[in-house]
């Protein structure tokens, strides 16, 4: 789980856990704050009842006073031309509407803010179509009362609890989602450089010393990134220096060895030539022919030695194309040993091959070169009366050739620098043989390992990629195919 997801989950947990108590608290507060609405319902009903009673009492009082003659009416005769001229148009409209309604009497509220009460009666003494109007102040503005009542009833009719909850829920959800989005953005901003740093570290561990992390921050992450970039730069510089120094050291060793080897050959040549000049100045004729032949032989030998060394260096530096093919390693080993027997008849040879040993997939010339080198070394190390064991074995999905000898073995120093070029611990040879052999094994997709020798001397294992299938072995020595067998060469030695 990424750091960003963790941060988002922490935020969700931290905000959702208190949600239960928050809802409970909010519900309680809403209920308490909405309690006055119930009171408002009863108060509005009381207001309605009181206002109506007040109007009815005022109406009854006006009617009573009108009938008792305690208040004089405004009379609107039936004849249109005899209408009072000083009354307001609104009164005339009310009278006209009253006439049209056909009612005998009507009590209504009128005036500014419904602050007056008006009583209209059809008929007057001597004029049955006349309309008499009584009007007096009410003392209160009934319109204001009605407006307050309507507002109160409107509030009461609303489901405020539902409204508060929906609005609260909507706002909380929106705020929460916005906060979650911000947390996501911030955590992305924090985790991105860490992810970049981790990827860069992985690349650095993989050997990419040029990797750098872009950095424009000044906080702790920025400092860490800056430190990483600095470390990577230093590592790259160190690597470059190390490579250069290693190359330089190799060249120095090569130069030293070459100088030494060339000097080794040049010295006898120079001495021989000097001797030839000295003898030329001495009494001529005495054994001159024999000396010249010997001197010429020395010079030619040393020149050939120099040629061999130069050829060896040339082979070491060359990289011929690799042509892998399916190889029967046991056959190749037997063939190499047959050649070796001619040069080293004093050594006894044994060849073994596992019955289930697979074929190898490698370049035949490279494999032969490896075997020649290892077997030659083994024969030289084994010496007179020594023994060599060559074995072909299966190693999981690979195949290996082991070469053991009965020689004196390798010293600790020799083991450490065995495969390094130009270092030779033999009386003969250039010291490039094992380097070339290991290079050939690596080019074939395998390797050469130094193992514990089974015959008391050194032991080497050449590992090679296995071929497509096992090799059917049918050797005359054993007469059986596929069985583990041993071939004895010079068994009497």
């Amino acid at each position: 789980m990424t750091l960003r997801t963790r941060l988002a989950l922490v935020f969700i947990a931290a905000t959702l856990v208190p949600l239960g108590p928050t809802i409970w608290l909010t519900t309680n507060l809403f209920d308490r704050s909405l309690a006055p609405v119930d009171q408002l319902a009863s108060v509005s009903r009381a207001l309605e009842k009181t206002g109506r009673q007040y109007f009815q009492q005022a109406s009854a009082q006006l009617k009573e006073d009108a009938q008792a003659g305690r208040e004089l009416p405004l009379v609107f005769p039936g004849i249109a031309e005899a209408q009072p001229t000083t009354v307001e148009p609104a009164v005339l409209d009310a009278v006209r509407e009253f006439r049209d309604s056909g009612e005998k009497e009507l009590v209504t509220i009128t005036g500014d803010g419904d602050s007056r009460i008006r009583y209209l009666v059809r008929g007057a003494p001597g004029d049955p179509v006349a309309v008499r109007v009584w009007e007096r102040p009410l003392g209160i503005r009934m319109a204001d009362l009605q407006r307050e009542y309507s507002g109160a009833r409107e509030t009461v009719s609303r489901d405020l609890r539902h409204g508060y909850f929906v609005v609260w829920g909507l706002l909380v959800t929106v705020i929460w989602l916005v906060a979650l989005g911000l947390v996501w953005i911030v955590s992305t901003r924090f985790s991105r450089p860490i992810v970049n740093l981790t990827e860069a570290l992985r690349a650095l561990a993989g050997g990419d010393f040029r990797i750098r992390v872009p950095n424009d921050r000044t906080d702790e992450i920025g400092l860490a990134t800056q430190a990483f970039n600095l470390t990577a730069t230093q590592l790259e510089q160190s690597r470059d220096r190390l490579v250069y120094l290693t190359q330089l050291a190799s060249w120095q060793i090569l130069a030293r060895k070459m100088a030494h080897e060339v000097k080794n050959s040049l010295t006898p040549i120079r001495l021989t030539v000097e001797e030839m000049v000295a003898r030329e100045n001495d009494a001529a004729g005495t054994g001159r022919q024999a000396f010249l032949e010997q001197a010429a032989s020395i010079v030619v030998d040393e020149i050939e030695s120099l040629e061999r060394r130069i050829r060896a260096f040339s082979e070491f530096s060359s990289e011929p194309p690799v042509c892998p093919e399916t190889l029967d390693l046991a056959t190749i080993v037997e063939e190499r040993i047959a050649f070796l027997k001619t040069a080293h008849p004093e050594v006894g040879y044994v060849v073994e091959a596992d019955a289930d040993a697979p074929s190898a997939m490698a370049d035949q010339d490279l494999v032969k070169g490896i075997l020649v080198n290892l077997l030659e070394n083994a024969a030289e190390a084994a010496g007179e009366g020594g023994r060599i064991l060559a074995r072909v074995i299966r190693m999981d999905d690979r195949v290996a050739i082991e070469v053991h000898d009965s020689g004196p073995g390798l010293s600790e120093l020799a083991r450490k620098s065995l495969f390094q070029p130009t270092i030779s611990f033999k009386k003969r040879g250039m010291g490039l043989g094992l380097s070339i052999a290991r290079k050939s094994a690596l080019l074939s997709g395998g390797d050469i390992l130094l193992i514990s020798g089974e015959l008391g001397g050194a032991g080497f294992r050449v590992i090679l990629p296995a071929g497509p299938g096992p090799v059917a072995i049918d050797h005359p020595e054993t007469g059986s195919a596929g069985a583990k067998h041993a071939i004895a060469a010079n068994p009497g030695r």
Binding site: E48, G51, R52, Y54, F55, E97, S101, L106, V107, T108, I109, M142, L145, Q146, R147, Y149, S150, G151, R153, E154, V156, S157, R158, D159, L160, H162, G163, Y164, V166, V167, L170, L171
Partner: protein, 209 residues
């Protein structure tokens, strides 16, 4: 034997009662949804003596001091199940209630100010009758030689249809609270009032009498 007889009598009684109830329900429904049409001058007017729309939830809201708007559509067609009527008139009425005087006021809402009419100090039936009187179809639009059907569709207008969460001043908490606090109102369902088949001649005769 007696038991079987009494069972038969019981079943017959139950059947008669069920049939009577069904007929009564049909009669009530028929009576309520029955529209009476008459010619008054050059206009066809309707009335529904057994129908009251100032009742139930609308009346409650009126008595709470709110105004309630109704929209009425009177149609004339030569077929009882029409798609496009032969003649049609639509009117909107705003009804309010004077709490202290306990009377109704009605205003016919129209786009043209000269046609706007209102009346006050009416009883409930009076207000309903005034609404019906202000809903008329011109005689010239009625089919002369064919029988026709008159139909009145009356509905209460929902004030919520005219306002949303976003007001003129944008979104505000007070506005949201107002919108989401509105009670869920079931619209008053009114029956479709019908009359017919009618003939113009019959209506003219009725007018002369």
């Amino acid at each position: 034997m007696n038991q079987r007889r009494s069972r038969t009598v019981l079943r017959a009684t139950l059947a008669v009662l069920v049939a009577g109830a069904a007929i009564s329900a049909f009669a009530i429904e028929y009576n309520v949804s029955r529209l009476t049409a008459r010619l008054d001058g050059d206009f066809l007017h309707v009335s529904a003596p057994n129908f009251s729309f100032l009742s139930g939830k609308p009346l409650e809201r009126l008595k709470d001091g709110a105004s309630v708007a109704f929209i009425a559509q009177l149609t004339v067609s030569t077929s009882p199940s029409y798609v496009v009527p032969d003649a049609r008139t639509v009117a909107r009425f705003a009804v309010s209630y004077a709490i202290w005087e306990e009377t109704f006021s009605v205003t016919r809402i129209t786009d043209r100010p000269e046609q706007k009419r209102s009346i006050s100090h009416l009883t409930g039936p009076g207000a309903e009758a005034w609404c019906f009187d202000n809903l008329a179809i011109n005689r010239s639009e009625l089919p002369v030689d064919r029988p026709f059907y008159v139909q009145l569709d009356l509905r209460e207008e929902d004030p919520r249809d005219q306002s949303g969460v976003i007001g003129d001043n944008g979104i505000s908490i007070a506005r949201m609270l107002e919108v989401f606090s509105r009670p869920v109102r079931d619209k008053q369902a009114y029956p479709l009032l019908k009359s017919g088949p009618l003939r113009l001649d019959d209506l003219q005769k009725g007018m002369r009498r």
